[in-house]
Amino acid sequence: MFGTVRARIILIAVLLLLCGWALLPKEGPTGERESPLKLGLDLQGGMHLAVEIDDPDGTLDAAAKADAIDRTLTTIRNRIDEFGVREPTIQRVGDARIVVELAGIDDPERAKSIVERTAFLEFKIVRGGEEFRRALPRIDRIIVREIGAENLEVVPILEPETPTGLQELLQGADSAAAEPGAADAGADTTTSGTGTDTAATGAGTDTAATGAGTDTTTGGEEEQELRPLTALLLESGQVGQFLVREQDIPTVERYLALEAVTDAIPRGAELKWGVEPIAGGADSYRTLFVLEDEPLLTGEDLADAGPAARDPTFNQPYVPFETTRRGARKFERGTSRHVGDLMAIVLDNKVQSAPVIRQTLGRRAQIEMGTGSSLQEAQDLALVLRAGALPQPIRIVEERSVGPSLGADSVRQGKMAFAIGIILVLLLMVAYYRVAGVMAVIALSFYVVLLLGGLAGLGATLTLPGIAGIILSIGMAVDANVLIFERIREELEAGKTPRTAVDTGFEAALSAIVDANLTTLITAIILFQFGTGPVRGFAVTLVIGILASFFTAIFVTRTLFMIYLDRRAAGAPIKI
């Protein structure tokens, strides 16, 4: 079929044109011209994330998990669409995993937080806390029983001067917490000063005195009355809020995680941490809120959120939102019963702020962010609220990111190594085989075009190991040529005519070339099957490279030889 030189040249020309077309810059979806070669995350910078549904206790059955994965995939897609990344890859891998690949992003940590955030929003009333306070002695006894007195960390007993210290702290906490609350500029906001309620402060200080006082009086006989939890909770002076030193948080969390303790917490109440640290003297504190466990409203009732803005008076970012009709009715009902109470805005199980409900709230309200938040964080919150919450918290099981600068370095160095390597090989070939060497050079140039065209045409991604794969397959392309040329030399030495020597040379070398290429192809295909990310890129370039090298060595070099043999003066020796 391709017996004649003309037919062969036509086929080669067609292939060259196809590759050239595949390598032409294309109009991207954004309208700008893009390089036809897709670069991997390791080359252009970017992030690879693998996430799974977080289900540490195994409470979800298979169907629930599959459903959660589907919904998570949709939500992450929506979020990334809103975030605006060019050509993101968001796909399910296996049954339980979602892989997100974002190329060329500047701030991987921010993108990551947008992906992984559950964005589960709840509005909950802050309880008076009296009930919980009454339950505390019992909880303390349970902790002692469960963990054992000897295993309890020795807690330094509060010094008598604590009340003064607390007073100072309260001032600090007040001013810190008052800012978010006081931002009441919006028409229908949820805000007001946070618990400057004097009655509450009075009660709080009182109880703190009793709580701490008991310990002080029984100072010498701790064993008699161990109060592992109470000792770590400081009264904040605000309704339903305690303060815990940052370094004590893990201990408190450990206590609260005990099953018997969970059971002892008053019915209908739950404990949640505040998101913002509060500075008080040398220590930093975190608020522990006592909340109603039934939310007034959740993120599902939201119709829209944003645009985020910054409060001009208090320089604090907020996210306005709008509820659905049903949500508005729920919100009205809930807030009308609790005017004057504090309402905690709970995002992903952390209390963002807890403003006072001044009046019944309806369709529009806004979420006040903590004082330390940036406008960008508020914008990101609006984004995830619009895109919807994840059905279940997710867990990142793999994260890889490469900064754009490292990627650019790698590309530059890879190109350089590629160029130097190939030029040296070409020089070697020409020096060693002369005219045949020039043919090999032409064939290898064709190989490079075919390889790059193949990569672009198949939409394969070029990774760093992929460049190594290319170099390896160049080695194999050279090897095929060497095998053929050596064989032709042997045949010529055996006294055959040039034409016969070339024919025999190609035929005899074929079996070794086929076997060598096929075994490597097997390895490459297996690598593709089992590999992830970069290794897969290596396998893809290797497969395309092997096919291209096989074709160029067997077909292109042969055609060049045919032309050479035809043009040579009759009977003249061939230069090989």
Binding site: E109, L406, Y433, E490, F538, A539
Partner: protein, 310 residues
């Protein structure tokens, strides 16, 4: 130009010396692995966190260490990366709880100490233990699968003896490569596994070219002693072996010297692999073929003697 024209080196006669050399290399490698307490696996397989940062100004390693340790990462390994501006911080753990993972906490600590804009994150690799063990399983499976499939292919294309000899040579190469990896202190990552598989492919490629010639010569000269045929085949393919290995080494050297820090270990393993693969196709694969043949012949003789006795 013509190298090794009409070469007639007695490769087969010197095979016992080659056995000793191989045994020493493999022994050294195993000793290195044992002395290092096993191979060094990267975060890909063990799970863990790796953060590579570049500071705008010089930062003392001890300073960075104290910052990282104060953030609660006592077991962190800190490795300088050419100069006092680029560092690799490595943790044994990666347990991601939404928004509270190691990466965030570490970057927060670094930001607090050196300023938000005082550094650039070049690279993050964080792999959970589950993914790590999955990748490990996949890598082992990939190596085994490629092994088995190439063997089946060789058994189909050649005789079984060739297949066995090729496997002996390949195992030889893998053992020496692992020894080298341990000796130089390269970590086993996904990239290293790809490199090892490439070496397997390359070594097989080399072996196949020699075997192809042996197969051909065996058909042509049936009377010739087996050893002579093997030796002649190796010598006949010697120019090709040297030229191909040479050109591949040239490209790999370019990769090693100019390819950058990320790809350098990869290139280094491949360079060793090409050298070992070339050596083994001459000094291991073909001798193995000869030993198998002679073993078969001795057994046949013994059986004949046994039959004659009976």
């Amino acid at each position: 130009m013509r190298l090794f024209k009409d070469a007639k080196y007695p490769f087969m006669a010197g095979r016992r010396r080659a056995y000793i050399a191989s045994a020493v290399l493999i022994g050294l490698g195993i000793a290195s692995i044992v002395l290092h307490g096993g191979l060094k696996y990267g975060v890909d397989f063990t799970g863990g966190t790796l953060v590579q940062v570049e500071f705008n100004e010089q930062v003392d390693a001890a300073n960075l260490r104290s910052v990282v340790e104060e953030a609660g990462f006592a077991g962190a390994a800190i490795q300088g990366f050419g100069g006092d501006r680029e560092y690799l911080v490595r943790l044994q753990t990666f347990e991601e709880v939404a928004g509270q993972g190691e990466v965030e906490r570490m970057l927060a600590a670094i930001s607090a100490a050196f300023g938000e804009d005082g550094y650039t994150v070049l690279r993050v690799e964080a792999v959970g233990p589950k993914v790590g063990s999955e990748l490990q399983r996949k890598a082992v499976l990939a190596i085994l699968m490629s092994f088995v499939l190439t063997l089946i292919y060789l058994a189909f294309r050649f005789e079984w003896r060739f297949g066995v000899a090729a496997v002996v040579a390949t195992i030889h190469d893998i053992l020496i490569t692992f020894g080298f990896i341990s000796l130089v202190g390269i970590e086993i990552t996904l990239g290293t596994v790809a490199a090892i598989l490439t070496i397997v492919g390359y070594s097989l490629n080399d072996t196949i070219v020699v075997f192809d010639r042996i197969r051909e010569n065996l058909r042509k000269k049936r009377k010739e002693p087996y050893e002579t045929t093997l030796n002649r085949s190796i010598n006949e393919t010697l120019p090709r072996t040297v030229l191909t290995s040479g050109t591949t080494l040239v490209t790999l050297m370019a990769l090693f010297l100019f390819g950058g820090s990320v790809i350098r270990p990869f290139a280094m393993v491949l360079i060793l692999g090409v050298v070992i693969g070339t050596y083994s196709s001459i000094f291991v694969a073909s001798p193995a073929l000869l030993e198998i043949e002679e073993y078969g012949r001795r057994r046949a003789k013994a059986q004949r003697a046994h039959a004659a006795e009976a």
